[in-house]
């Protein structure tokens, strides 16, 4: 089969530029001010709710949620609420014209519950009122008769160790016949034989918590009905095309009658995937039922109980190695708690198992993973998507192994890591672009690892310091999860400016600047020529979801393909006009000239004008599809992702022995991202990803009561890192082991920047306290750490 043209273009550009240093490019890897920075520091109305002032005659929505985490609904009576002054209508499940479901991967999540509620955030009705206050007040008047059921909050009530068989229990999802959402396995080599050959075996059980995205902009959506009956929506969502699909389904409308636009997002981190389906569908429904524009927004409390979280994990790991440290095998059982609904759980589980043994050569592996329902708040996508959980576990295991063998943790990792020419645990050959060794060496050198590893770990008065490392890898884009394509539209306007349209959103971390840098580099124009048009499902082709760190690689490739084809045409035209060969043409807008004779010159604008006269089309549609991934369900063998981002993180912590408080003092991160495209964005990811990962490691968790209520649904009870928690220094290094199917060799960094953080911090705490197997759960809150200090006899009292 011949290679698709778009793969050829991407590989050609890679081949041509792979030996260039990044500083030799004009725009790639430069310190560039992001396109929206000035608008943001001047407070322009950029977010969904900022547009409310422009909407006339709107109705306001408020969601009535269940009082029980697990119950059957016997009867819903909304008559009192409907009579409340200002209330226009109360929407229940029976008002839905289409399908009452907003499940992301599988149809298990009703938009408005009518038979059963499965967690404390389930919607039972939606109040539509003339103003927000009336809607909130009327919510208390909706009367629901429930038959409460016992909530199941422990995943170990659903499945049991030793094969993860499903236990006898009253089903949360009886309609599905099972509360196991999905199962995955890896079978490689002969684990029994590995066990026999092993000189050491270390085993432990690990637990990781929920994590709340806590993006500062709560969810919001505005919907109205157009004159032709189609529905327009403005929503704070990561995935406009998925929202369009969900709304189409709920309203029973075809895709081309639903238009979704996305202004800028005040953070997403994975959380604004499926919750946007929920709120956009509610707004659209209200708009259709009342004929007026409808506005819905979440308070912080609603946001915390109303959207997905990072999956908590419980896992048992056994690592087997030779006396010299060579890994022989990994055996593991992993349980992910997806809460009441699958959300992206099936995909999260898959990503977790793919990465479950880490960036190491593992000749023998037997790993089983189950994603199970409980009556917790539902879990879905969160930056890292299953990886941070398993990375915490396997990296703690590597440290335990090092301790058992008396080998330095860095040396043990260097002995086992993947290098060019190695095969992953799935049997995937990595023939190029593996920069892990360099990443590890960079953080080890910068942190002065060997010296500090000896120096730390000895209490000095009431404190003790520790230093820890983690290494990890993270598959790029969505791999075998689904159809992995992306698109971009580039239009060169007659005045020489450029319109760039994409269906990928920018959560705020500036991924789109990277894509604009690619367009600028290929076309030879400054990024300031480019105007980014935010996603609009009616104006931009379906680019797939904005997830899985795929903007730079997938969106970047699509833009690269479009820009490359435009550049080819412009080169040809300029060559004709200037009288030199096509490869002699230099475009450094506003100048266009021949390399050998700069007097053969014209301006960018003249060239663009000539294109219009000569019939050279200056609009291009770029498409890129990732090479199909391979995955054998029975063995977990194949090539799950097209390639991997690699990274290493060293963290220094200080533990207060009186209080158990852990503070991160310094951090060193190194990421192999193939090629630095957007330097500012890359650095901010390294810093911001670290800080978010530090929250995951030290303070963040969602606490449920035994009835399934959420205790901490505000930002004063759900703790995220503040400036005072921030380390003095987060050093970031980038390794550029180019990937031939990334734009100019680039790979993604969005998720990798959080994947290894908790593991690195936990390893540092374990080092500080010589705590070994006792550090087996995060967050390492003061109470948890203090219990370890006590057990080790390190407490000063």
């Amino acid at each position: 089969m011949s290679k698709p043209y778009y793969v050829e273009i991407v590989e050609k550009v890679f081949e041509k530029t792979k030996d260039m240093r990044t500083d030799e490019f004009k725009w790639l890897g430069k310190i560039i001010q992001r396109w929206d920075a000035v608008d943001k520091v001047t407070g322009k109305p950029l977010f969904t709710l900022d547009l409310v002032n422009r909407i006339r005659d709107a109705v306001f929505l408020y969601t009535v949620r269940t009082k029980y985490a697990h119950a059957r609904i016997k009867k819903i009576d909304v008559s009192d609420a409907a009579r409340y002054p200002g209330v226009i209508r109360v929407i229940t499940a029976k008002d839905i014209p289409g399908v009452n479901d907003v499940g992301y991967v599988i149809p298990d999540q009703p938009l408005i519950a009518d038979k059963k509620v499965r967690y404390i955030g389930d919607t039972v009705a939606v109040i539509v009122a003339e103003n927000y206050h009336a809607a909130v007040e009327a919510a208390d008047l909706v009367s629901v008769e429930y038959e409460p059921l016992r909530p199941i909050l422990d995943p170990l009530e659903i499945v049991e160790w030793g094969g993860l068989r499903e236990k006898e229990h009253e089903l949360i999802h009886e309609e599905r016949g099972s509360d196991v959402v999905s199962r995955y396995k890896i079978r490689r080599g002969d684990i029994k034989k590995a066990e026999q050959e092993a000189a050491v075996i270390v085993e432990n059980e690990y637990r990781t918590p929920f994590q709340e995205h806590a993006y500062l902009e709560p969810e919001a959506a505005i919907a109205w009905v157009e004159a032709d009956g189609s529905v327009s929506i403005i929503a704070s969502t990561q995935c406009p095309f998925d929202v369009r699909k969900a709304v189409s389904q709920v309203l029973g409308l075809p895709f081309n009658k639903v238009r979704v636009r996305v202004p800028l997002l005040g953070g997403g981190f994975g959380g604004k995937e499926d919750v946007a389906n929920d709120i956009a569908s509610k707004a659209a429904l209200a708009a259709v039922l009342t004929g007026r524009p409808a506005i819905i927004f979440h308070t912080r409390e609603e946001s915390i109980i109303g959207h997905s979280k990072r999956h908590p994990m419980i896992a048992r790991y056994r690592h087997m190695a030779r006396r010299d440290g060579t890994l022989l095998g990994v055996e593991a059982e992993i349980i992910l708690d997806t809460g009441a609904y699958a959300s992206l759980g099936p995909f999260v589980g898959w990503r977790a198992i793919v990465h479950s043994t880490g960036p190491y050569k593992v000749p023998n592996a037997k790993v089983d993973l189950a994603v199970v329902y409980t009556n917790h708040v539902y879990a879905g996508a969160f930056r890292g998507f299953g990886s941070p959980q398993v990375t915490f576990a396997f990296e703690r295991q590597m440290d335990l192994l090092a301790e058992e063998l008396g080998i330095d943790p860095v040396d043990l990792r260097l002995k086992n890591i993947l290098r060019n020419g190695d095969r992953t645990v799935h049997g995937q050959l990595l023939d190029h672009g593996v920069g892990l060794e360099e990443a590890i060496k960079k953080v080890v050198e910068a942190s002065n690892w060997y010296e500090k590893r000896k120096l730390y770990g000895k209490p000095q008065g009431n404190i003790v310091r520790g230093i820890g490392i983690s290494a990890f890898y993270h598959g790029n884009s969505i791999g075998a999860e689904g159809a992995d394509f992306s698109t971009a539209t580039i239009i060169i306007n007659r005045d020489g400016t450029i319109t760039y349209r994409t269906g990928l959103t920018d959560f705020g971390q500036g991924a789109q600047q990277g894509i604009m840098n690619i367009i600028a580099e290929v076309l030879g124009v400054p990024p300031s020529y480019i105007h980014l048009e935010p996603p609009d499902t009616s104006a931009t082709p379906d680019a797939g979801p904005t997830v899985a760190s795929r903007s730079t690689v997938m969106g970047g490739n699509a833009a690269l393909v479009a820009a490359y084809r435009l550049r080819e045409r412009l080169n040809k035209l300029a060559a004709e006009l200037l009288g030199c060969s096509e490869d002699e043409i230099v475009i450094d807008a506003p100048d266009v000239y021949c390399r050998s004779d700069k007097s053969l010159h014209m301006t960018w604008q003249e060239l663009v004008e000539q294109a219009f006269w000569k019939g050279v089309p200056l609009q291009e549609f770029g498409y890129f599809r990732a090479p199909p991934a391979e995955w054998d369900e029975e063995t977990g063998q194949g090539a799950p992702y097209m390639h991997y981002t690699f990274g290493a993180v060293v963290t220094e912590v200080v533990v207060d022995l009186e209080t158990g408080v852990v503070r991160v003092e310094r951090a060193y991160t190194a990421y192999d991202i193939g090629r630095v495209i957007n330097r500012v964005g890359a650095e901010l990811h390294a810093e911001g990803g670290f800080i978010q990962g530090m929250g995951y490691a030290l303070m963040e968790d969602i606490y449920h009561s035994k009835e399934g209520y959420v205790y901490n649904k505000t930002l004063s009870t759900y703790h995220v890192p503040l400036m005072l928690d921030t380390p003095e220094e987060i050093k970031s290094f980038f390794v550029e082991a180019g990937f031939k199917r990334g734009p100019f060799g680039a790979k993604g960094l969005g998720e990798p920047s959080i994947t290894g953080i908790a593991a690195s911090i936990a390893n540092a705490v374990a080092h500080a306290l010589s705590a070994g197997k006792l550090i087996n759960a995060i967050p390492l809150t003061p109470d948890r750490v203090y219990m370890v200090i006590k057990k080790k006899g390190l407490n000063p009292f």
Binding site: G43, N53, L216, E217, L264, R300, G508, T726, E729
Partner: protein, 180 residues
């Protein structure tokens, strides 16, 4: 909701006087955002926990989500829209650009106003003071280390007498000259 008699209130927002009649329960954030259109004021929690709604009331930072409009009658209020004259950027805004502190931008207005209020009080704050002061604001994208640099840079600009910068110029500055 029961009907209440509106209360007459005069606010001076960013130097301009507004005579309003507001219900007694109206929050300052809603007056600013929805009555007067100052949408730079963001609501992240409605409980004074995240800092996105902070505005300056007579020069002092205040959570506009916890302030009833009727209680600040006659006050001078500054939002990000009023940090600098039209077409200009204040030193804290310029420093924020130069240190690349902007990510999603939702916390940015509150952070900028906190920076301004801090530098008005102490033109030369220590690292510890800056950290403590800005810990009233959550930034989930994690630009904290940039904010530390930005406050110091803004302090330097102000000390050098550079309080306002040209906005158009800043838009054109693609490759920023940053102290790294």
């Amino acid at each position: 909701m029961a009907e209440y008699k509106p209360i007459p209130v005069t606010l001076i927002v960013n130097g301009k006087e507004y005579k309003l009649e507001v219900p007694p329960y109206e929050r300052l954030i809603d007056t600013l955002r929805y009555r007067l259109g100052f949408t730079s004021v963001k609501e992240g929690c409605g409980r004074g926990e995240c800092g996105t709604c902070i505005v300056l009331v007579n020069g002092r930072p205040r959570h506009s989500c916890l302030t009833l409009t009727a209680t600040v009658d006659g006050a001078e209020i500054t939002t990000v829209e009023g940090l600098a004259p039209k077409g200009k950027l204040h030193a804290v805004q310029k420093a924020m650009l130069d240190t690349h502190g902007v990510q999603c931008g939702f916390c940015t207005p509150g952070i900028l106003l906190m920076m301004k209020a801090l530098l008005d009080r102490n033109p030369d704050p220590s690292d510890e003071e800056i950290k403590e002061w800005l810990s009233s604001n959550i930034c989930r994208c994690g630009s904290y280390l940039r904010y530390l640099k930005a406050v110091k840079l803004a302090a330097k600009y102000i000390k050098e007498g550079k309080i306002y910068f040209d906005e158009e110029e800043a838009r054109k500055t693609l490759i920023a000259n940053i102290p790294r």
